[in-house]
């Protein structure tokens, strides 16, 4: 009797392990392009999951840039639905299509939804995540809100898993709180590297939650040409594309050597 129970427990555990590993394998991970971050993320950000980006009120543009970059990577040329709360546009400005185009996103594939408040924004997000023609749904909320609680985040996570559409929460001027997010980022602007053609988004990103791995903090630069993140470049124009698995330091020295040569 006891033995039978043990064997049954073992069988069920095995079943669970199989299911868990099975789901982990079917998840598609998209590399950010930043070698260290990708290593910590075990290959990149998971598609069809909920990711959160937090920032201070004054760092909204940097966080917007990060979210836009992540959405570009995860949406992969499909339609992007950007839902924003009206107050956020008043406070931090409207999303500028020219600027997005320069970052490598296609304005023709962006649908913008303005929501009165956090509740209607989240409802629209839940509906949108059911539409698998979309690549990603970005929900931009301003300030702390009770609307996005555990239940709401669970709802979005399940919807994202079902359809494979990535859910991105852009939380401006909000404090991180418990949720079912796969990853949670805290983003602020970082100094541009000392070069002539400065101005590409350089971001100080902290991965403050990662469901399947460690956390970390990296300076990332968005490469508008390759549409990927990368280590900040000390020299403006690299001749060759960088190797993905090289650490920050070697890339810096190699860049320096090229400069000297």
């Amino acid at each position: 009797m006891d033995g039978a129970r043990h064997s049954m427990l073992a069988r069920l555990k095995g079943e669970i392990d199989r299911l868990e590993s099975g789901t982990a394998e079917t998840l598609r991970r998209v590399p950010l392009g930043h070698a260290e971050a990708d290593a910590v993320l075990q290959g990149g950000l998971v598609q069809g999951a909920l990711h959160e980006v937090f920032c201070d009120g004054a760092q909204a543009p940097a966080a917007t840039g990060f979210a836009a970059g992540v959405a570009r990577l995860l949406a992969d040329q499909r339609f992007l639905l950007w839902i924003r709360q009206d107050f956020s546009a008043r406070e931090n400005g409207e999303l500028a299509m020219e600027g997005l185009a320069e970052l490598g996103l296609d304005p023709r594939r962006i649908v913008m939804v303005s929501a009165h408040d956090a509740d209607s924004a989240l409802r629209a997000a839940a509906d949108a995540l059911a539409c698998n023609a979309l690549g990603a749904v970005i929900t931009e909320l301003w300030g702390d809100t009770r609307a996005f609680d555990q239940v709401a985040s669970r709802k979005l996570t399940l919807a994202a898993q079902d359809s494979g559409v990535t859910a991105l929460m852009l939380r401006i001027a909000a404090a991180p709180q418990a949720s079912t997010a796969e990853t949670r980022w805290m983003v602020r602007a970082a100094h541009s590297p000392p070069s002539e053609d400065w101005g590409a988004p350089v971001l100080d990103t902290s991965l403050i939650r990662n469901r399947h791995g460690q956390t970390g903090r990296w300076i990332m630069e968005w490469n508008c040409d390759a549409c990927q993140f990368r280590e900040p470049q000390t020299h403006s124009r690299l001749v060759a594309a960088e190797v993905a698995d090289r650490s920050v330091r070697t890339s810096v020295t190699s860049a320096g050597q090229r400069l000297a040569g």
Binding site: L81, A89, G93, E94, L103, R108, H191, D197, G199, C224
Partner: protein, 488 residues
């Protein structure tokens, strides 16, 4: 009794049955009436309220025919061609209409005739009459001339000539009448006798497809609405499918038993050919109504109409997923637009201008031209982004400390925070479009700025120093600075 000021004297405009029994007639001076009946109750004439009420009644009359026209300030014309058999016959339709209006508390007089003018004359002279086609001349002959609804001057002129009834007028030669009262009067006469006809001008175009659901007992619960709409949608879509049509705009009308009518419309970007879509759009719309449907004493008729329809071609969905991605997104946009409003679900179309705030035009997804996805955006100029990621809705004035008046800023205060500039790139000069406006505004010199914290800004100086903006010796007249955008 209703009175209003006409020609500097208070005149009776309208009165009820009791007043007319007492000898009061519209057009009498109020002072005369007061002398006759000191206790008479007088209400100020409110033409606007009358018009609103008449329109509400006209809305309600939509249940008999889609073609309802206002006839002056006090009448309605219904074109019931092809509608009468739905209510039995013409007499049954008129009985039903007048009985319902009487229940609502209105006094009515109605008549049915082959032409609008004949019907109008009969309602005034001989209510409740139904005139067979071709019989109009005989029916209107005994009526007074005033029943035609023509100008008062004509009526007075005819009376002075001794012609009191329409029949007496008709006995005259048309050429004599035309010389005295004009061709238009002849046209009205010909219409009154049925020799000629003019179409009525309905208040709104007749919808392409309509389905109704009548309730013998008014339903007063809201849960019946959606199932009814679903059943109606099935009928409507089936009817449209037979002629290869899809709906671009659907209107659901709820007729309350007390006469109030509420119409709710949803619009779609793609023509609707599926019942589920209709149901979903209305569910969203009803859910999002600011003032919800109030069934009151219950609805006795719910109607669904396709007011705008387009020809659709049934296309088999291929295996190419990108082709119907756009279709699915359009469907989602319709749903969101039904709930949030069409102006809140937009796409951006590039505009041929270099003024930053006008480059992207927000267009509701539902109203996007089909080829909107093809309009190319200008290619990126160079490696660092030259345009901000977020553009403030209004450029915000900032206080700037600049080394030289026409140079980049060294420090600025925006939203009460001081930012020290560590890097600046510019100016990028953007002149206003003089060919669009007489006063196009000042030339802007834009700078890309990075502050000591690494935040990147896009700000501009309004006006060229010493060219458009003239500094005064006392230090005033300096160019103003504005924050316009934020880089990532």
């Amino acid at each position: 009794m209703v009175a209003a000021k006409r020609d500097n004297a208070l005149m009776v405009v309208a009165c009820d049955a009791r007043a007319s029994q007492g000898g009061v007639l519209p057009g009498m001076p109020l002072a005369t009436v007061r002398a006759m009946h000191p206790a008479v109750e007088v209400i100020d004439h409110d033409p606007h309220a009358d018009a609103v009420l008449l329109n509400a009644i006209a809305d309600w009359c939509d249940r008999y025919t889609p073609l309802v026209a206002l006839d002056g300030a006090e009448g309605l014309l219904l074109d019931i061609t092809g509608c009468a058999h739905l209510f039995g016959d013409e007499a049954a339709l008129m009985r039903s209409l007048t009985a319902a209006l009487t229940r609502q508390g209105f006094e009515t007089s109605a008549a049915i005739a082959g032409t609008a003018v004949a019907a109008r004359a009969l309602t005034r002279g001989a209510p409740r009459s139904i005139v067979a086609p071709g019989d109009e001349a005989r029916a209107v002959a005994p009526l007074p001339v005033a029943a035609l609804g023509v100008d008062d001057a004509i009526v007075r002129g005819l009376r002075r000539a001794g012609l009191k009834t329409i029949g007496e007028v008709l006995a005259r030669k048309p050429s004599e009448l035309a010389a005295r009262f004009g061709e238009e009067f002849i046209a009205v006469l010909r219409q009154a006798t049925g020799d000629d006809d003019a179409p009525i001008s309905p208040r709104r175009p007749a919808p392409d497809y309509v389905v109704d659901k009548n309730f013998p007992e008014p339903v007063a619960t809201t849960d019946v609405i959606l199932p009814t709409l679903l059943a109606l949608a099935k009928l409507l879509i089936a009817a449209m499918e037979r002629s290869g049509k899809g709906a671009r705009q659907l209107v659901a009308s709820f007729f309350r038993s007390d006469g109030a009518v509420r119409s709710i419309s949803v619009e779609t970007g793609q023509p609707v050919t599926r019942v589920e879509v209709v149901q979903r759009l209305f569910a969203e719309k009803l859910d999002a109504l600011a003032d919800p449907l109030d069934p009151g004493f219950g609805y006795d008729l719910i109607r669904l109409a396709a007011s705008v329809s387009v020809t659709t071609t049934e296309a088999q969905r291929g295996f190419d997923t990108t082709a119907h991605q756009a279709e699915d997104v359009a469907l989602l946009a319709d749903t969101l637009a039904a709930r949030l409003g069409a102006r809140r679900v937009v796409r951006y179309l590039p505009q041929d201008t270099h003024i930053p705030e006008r480059v992207a035009l927000a267009v509701p997804v539902q109203h996007c031209p089909p080829d909107a996805g093809d309009a190319p955006w200008p290619a990126r100029a160079d490696i660092p982004p030259l345009r901000p990621l977020r553009l403030l809705q209004q450029p915000e004035p900032i206080e700037v400390l600049a080394g030289v008046p026409d140079g980049p800023p060294a420090q600025f205060i925006w939203r009460r925070v001081t930012h020290r500039v560590t890097r600046a790139e510019g100016p990028e000069r953007i002149a206003m479009e003089w060919w669009r406006a007489a006063q196009p505004g000042l030339t802007r010199d834009y700078f890309r700025i990075e502050d000591e914290d690494g935040a990147r800004f896009w700000l501009y100086r309004d006006g060229l120093y010493e060219i458009e903006v003239m500094p005064e010796p006392d230090g005033t007249g300096q160019p103003r600075w504005y924050m316009h955008g934020l880089f990532a």
